[in-house]
């Protein structure tokens, strides 16, 4: 609820900086519901949640951009909408694939935890490196 309220404020005030915290709050709320339910069963709706979150994020940023006095040509609008829908579809497929991968019976243990930490750290490091690369 807090996330939704913050998102509404972000859209009304056209503040892009408030969109990310609102999404984090919504994701945190979803994480809370996962913690509360039975941990042995994977939530099959997770890819849908991810897809919806991505759509909300993209549409929110688009709304904030359009809040100014500018105007977009019609082909730009149509292409952007098409790209957004395609991105949402790809997000759904990717989320489903990731969830399916996590369901594989690989066992547990410290080793797999370390692999997971290393993978997460590597992903974030790669992102940081690409972000720091000059254009």
């Amino acid at each position: 609820m807090a996330g939704a309220a913050l998102l509404a404020m972000a859209l009304v005030l056209a503040r892009a900086g408030l969109v990310a915290p609102s999404l984090v709050l919504v994701a945190a709320g979803y994480a809370g519901t996962l913690v509360a339910r039975d941990a042995d069963v994977l939530d099959a709706a997770a890819p849908l949640v991810g897809c919806a979150l991505l759509l909300v994020a993209e549409l929110s940023y688009w709304s904030v951009e359009l809040a100014g006095t500018g105007r977009e040509e019609r082909p730009v609008l149509l292409r952007r909408l098409t790209a957004m829908l395609a991105l949402a579809g790809a997000a759904l497929v990717l989320g489903a694939a990731v969830l399916a991968a996590t369901a594989l019976p690989l066992g547990g243990g410290l080793a797999w935890n370390l692999v997971g930490v290393a993978a997460a750290a590597a992903a974030l490091a790669l992102i940081a490196r690409l972000a720091a690369r000059p254009s």
Binding site: A27, V35, L53, Y61, T69, G70, A120, A123, L126, A131
Partner: protein, 421 residues
Amino acid sequence: MTRRGSPRLGAYAGLSAFGLVAALTLGLPELVAVVAPFALVLAVGLAIGRAPRLHVEGAPERERALEGDELAFRIYLDTRGAIERLELHLALPDGLEGDGPLTVRLAADEDRDLDLPVRCVRWGAYSPGELHVRAVDRLGVFAFERVVDLRAPLKVYPLPEHLLGLLKPLETQVFTGNQVARAKGDGIEFSDIRPFVPGDRVRRINWRASARRGELVVNELHPERNTDVILFLDSFSEARTPERGTLDLTVRAAAALAAEYLARKDRVGVVGFGGILNWLLPATGLVQLYRIVDALLDTEIVLNYAWKDVDLLPRRTLPPKALVVALTPLLDERSTRALLDLRARGFDLAIVEVSPVPFAPPGPDPSDELAHRLWLHGRAALRWQYESAGVPVVEWRDGVPLAAPLEEVAAYRRHARVSRA
């Protein structure tokens, strides 16, 4: 071009980090599935984000316009690779208005011509053309920005007001013009009759009067002469609101008067008496009209505490027998004294007071209202001082046609002429 991360960059990175850390900490693999798309968008956006190769040219469609005109700022775009979203924003100075930023898409190797509308709200000399260009990549992760300098001169002239009548000078000059002179000579307007003397033309003999008198008499006529008109602009200070002020009215009136007097073959000069002193010697013709209007575009209020009087002006700027039409808000003591000085030197002076009263309403307090009334009384006393010196002063307010105060001045001068007789 300068690369800047969009708000998505930080947001998606933060969200991905939060999801991955939370998934590891809480043991919730679903969170990985939730944030995986964000991480993918981020990674792909970072990998493909490259500065586009874009060439931009542009200029206004013409260099001159009138107040109220709308013209196009033509832009030519040429790109090597596709640009999914290209935002163009033409930064315009006060006095010009546009439609705001425009977002377009350019396909690979496409070149396009675009017209950005520019509305000329106020007269002035401008140099529009600071074009802010922002190219956003396909996923909107990065934006590449650049400011392109396409500045070109644009002169917006004041909208001329058509005047049905003008102020007639007390004295004319020696050259041919459209004013009926007081002197007698060759012309069209009848003046008097006198006895025939050898050398007079036969066609000027008034046969009817000659028959009544029993001697030859000839007609005398008033010749048509031109006049010298000096437009005296007070630019020491002005009263204004955000939309308009007394200087705007002054410049528009000066442009209208200059155009009308020059059309009647009179010589017109301009004196800008203010923080910056400038002048234009009287001349005639279309070229002089363009010189005057270009000089008017440079008129602005410049704060200056130095005392100035008319002695600073070259003598040729104020020719003898010239009609001096002063356009002034009568706010600065320097200009009010200079005008009295001109009258004392014998110039034919008429003052159009560009009233600052509509632009300076009283404050809400009773003391503000009292101060305002005192100010109005002071202005009335100043007008009386001019009228005592034989100078017609007419108040002209925003929204009233210029012809109205000119007719009042003409009526005052007619009355003054009868009193002298």
